[in-house]
């Protein structure tokens, strides 16, 4: 295996955050560190969420903090703020964020008590589609086995994603931290047209010997996947290690550009 697999340039990491996590200490989750890590790992740009805001009731203060914190690093770090479609004034908030040039919006329906098929999420998806921004959904922040006793919200379900896409909202949906079964359940539960609207990162898909990533590249295609690491919660080396261990015939398969 050529060493290029370790340092090959990557255009975009869709799954990064800044800020602390309520349930354990995260070392140095600052934007300056993220910029350094991306440079070290050969990643040109990242979509960056604000981790604490995922657990806030009103995300607006965290969104403002995110945009201000990333401004000095605008060429590398692109904000992916939160819009809660059950919060008064969310359409105005989305409009302002789009005006500010954000490439993606993050939503956490499982943390907001929204079941699969909730029409408010579908309305957010439709608004994102009209605005030309991606909608990022996160399956999990941590392994279910290590959750803090207060962390009881559960994971995003595959049904959340299927119902959202089946609604015809037209959003470009990027699902992060999904496992193989989740990905297969969503992909094969949609029509070919619907499938084209959903991309997955592979931060929670395993390599050899079970070769889940290789299997997914063969069955649903590498073009359904985007690069995502979940920094600072997880090691940024994980995604690249997974690509480096793909069987030779899959080693240079192109990923999607969201």
């Amino acid at each position: 295996m050529p060493d290029e697999s370790r340092h090959a340039p990557v255009a975009l990491d869709v799954n990064t955050f800044i800020g602390g996590y309520p349930f354990r200490h995260i070392p140095h989750p600052e934007p300056e560190i993220l910029v350094r890590v991306l440079a070290r790992e050969g990643v040109a740009q990242a979509w960056v969420g604000h981790l604490p805001s995922a657990f806030h009731r009103d995300p607006s203060a965290g969104n403002a903090e995110l945009i201000a914190a990333l401004a000095p690093h605008a060429a590398v770090l692109r904000p992916a703020p939160i819009v809660r479609p059950d919060w008064p004034g969310w359409r105005d908030a989305l409009g302002a964020l789009v005006q500010a040039g954000v490439p993606a919006i993050r939503a956490y329906p499982q943390l907001w008590g929204m079941a699969a098929g909730d029409t408010r999420l579908q309305e957010l998806g439709a608004a994102c589609a009209r605005a030309g921004v991606a909608l990022v959904l996160t399956v999990r922040f941590e392994d279910l086995r290590q959750r803090h006793p207060l962390d009881v919200a559960g994971d995003l379900s595959a049904a959340h994603v299927r119902e959202l896409v089946r609604s015809g909202c037209g959003a470009r949906v990027v699902v992060t931290a999904a496992g193989r079964e989740f990905i297969e359940e969503v992909h094969w539960g949609l029509t070919p047209v619907e499938r084209a609207q959903v991309l997955f990162d592979f931060s929670w898909v395993w390599g050899p010997p079970s070769d889940e990533l290789a299997t997914l590249f063969r069955t649903i295609g590498s073009d359904r996947f985007v690069y995502g690491t979940m920094w600072p919660l997880r090691l940024t080396q994980g995604a690249r290690a997974n690509l480096a261990l793909l069987p030779e015939e899959l080693a240079r398969q192109p990923l999607a550009v969201p």
């Binding site: 086995r145 290590q146 050899p208 919660l233 940024t236």
Partner: protein, 284 residues
């Protein structure tokens, strides 16, 4: 670095927590899984896989509560893999401590055929005195004991009588001359609890394996027990093992500490002669 440079670098590397699958184990793809482990290991640069087969992997008795028949069948297969890949595979003997004298005889039988370590899973909580004769037999043979662990056992979990770091600390305290390998700090549960529980138990080594690649986990493990009590491993996800190897290179370790984690600590705690390929490097 050349096109053939191992992804994990050229220094020796011992995976202290590996598994192989067997034909009677209920997985039709067992041979593919085993082949892919060896292929993946070669690409990473794993010098030795120290591995176990846990009985029938649930086909005819539960993975963590293996029957005597399955114990023999699994160990026999593991010893065959070791014989077939003498240059890069070493075997643990895996036993169910509930089986008493049978377990002791099985340890003797497998050591005579070349097993280099004892693997205990989750058939009995490890602070139970019932484990003592099994540990004493491991000590007699000079074997380290790899013990399956749930990081912070807050309740019973299905399919296993699980132990955590505090339980292993109790067992290790009763057997201070035996080296215990606490399994997969990335294998599920709260590893921060584990670090606190074993910090002051010098005969417990932490194996870094498991699918979990939380940022901060390696740094915290290092702070808790030091580089001389960390052992690299992958368990069943080689990709996360490689990610941790790469992370170890950037967390400020000295070359000596990195070598200790990659292989020298394992060299010290496994029986003399367990890793002949590394003999020259060890004496360099």
């Amino acid at each position: 670095m050349s096109a053939t440079t191992p992804l994990g670098g050229t220094l020796p590397l011992i995976d202290v927590h590996a598994h192989f699958f067997q034909p009677e184990g209920g997985r039709a793809d067992w041979a593919t899984l085993n082949a892919r482990r060896l292929e993946g290991g070669a690409r990473i640069g794993i010098t030795y896989h120290v591995a176990s087969v846990l009985g029938s992997w649930g086909a005819t008795s539960p993975t963590y509560f293996q029957s005597p028949n399955d114990t023999v069948q699994g160990n026999d297969f593991m010893l065959v893999v070791q014989a077939d890949h003498e240059d890069c595979v070493r075997a643990y003997v895996a036993v169910n401590p509930n089986d008493g004298d049978f377990a002791l005889d099985e340890i003797d039988r497998c050591v005579a055929r070349g097993a280099v370590g004892l693997k205990l899973a989750a058939a009995r909580r490890c602070d139970d005195p019932l484990l003592d004769p099994v540990i004493e037999r491991a000590q007699l043979h000079g074997l380290p004991v790899l013990h399956h662990i749930w990081q912070h056992r807050r309740r019973h979990w299905p399919s296993q009588d699980i132990s955590d770091g505090a339980d292993l600390a109790t067992l290790a305290g009763r057997h201070p001359d035996v080296s215990f390998i606490l399994a997969h700090i990335g294998g599920g549960g709260d590893y921060q609890h584990t670090f606190a529980a074993v910090r002051d138990v010098p005969n417990i080594y932490l194996d870094l394996s498991g699918s979990g690649i939380d940022r901060g986990m390696l740094d915290d493990a290092l702070r808790a027990v030091g580089a001389q009590r960390l052992l690299w491993g992958a368990d069943i996800t080689l990709c996360t093992g490689l990610a941790k190897l790469w992370a170890l290179e950037v967390i400020g370790l000295s070359d000596g500490d990195l070598a200790d984690i990659r292989w020298r600590n394992a060299w010290r705690i496994f029986p003399s002669g367990a890793f002949p390929v590394l003999s020259e490097a060890a004496h360099a």
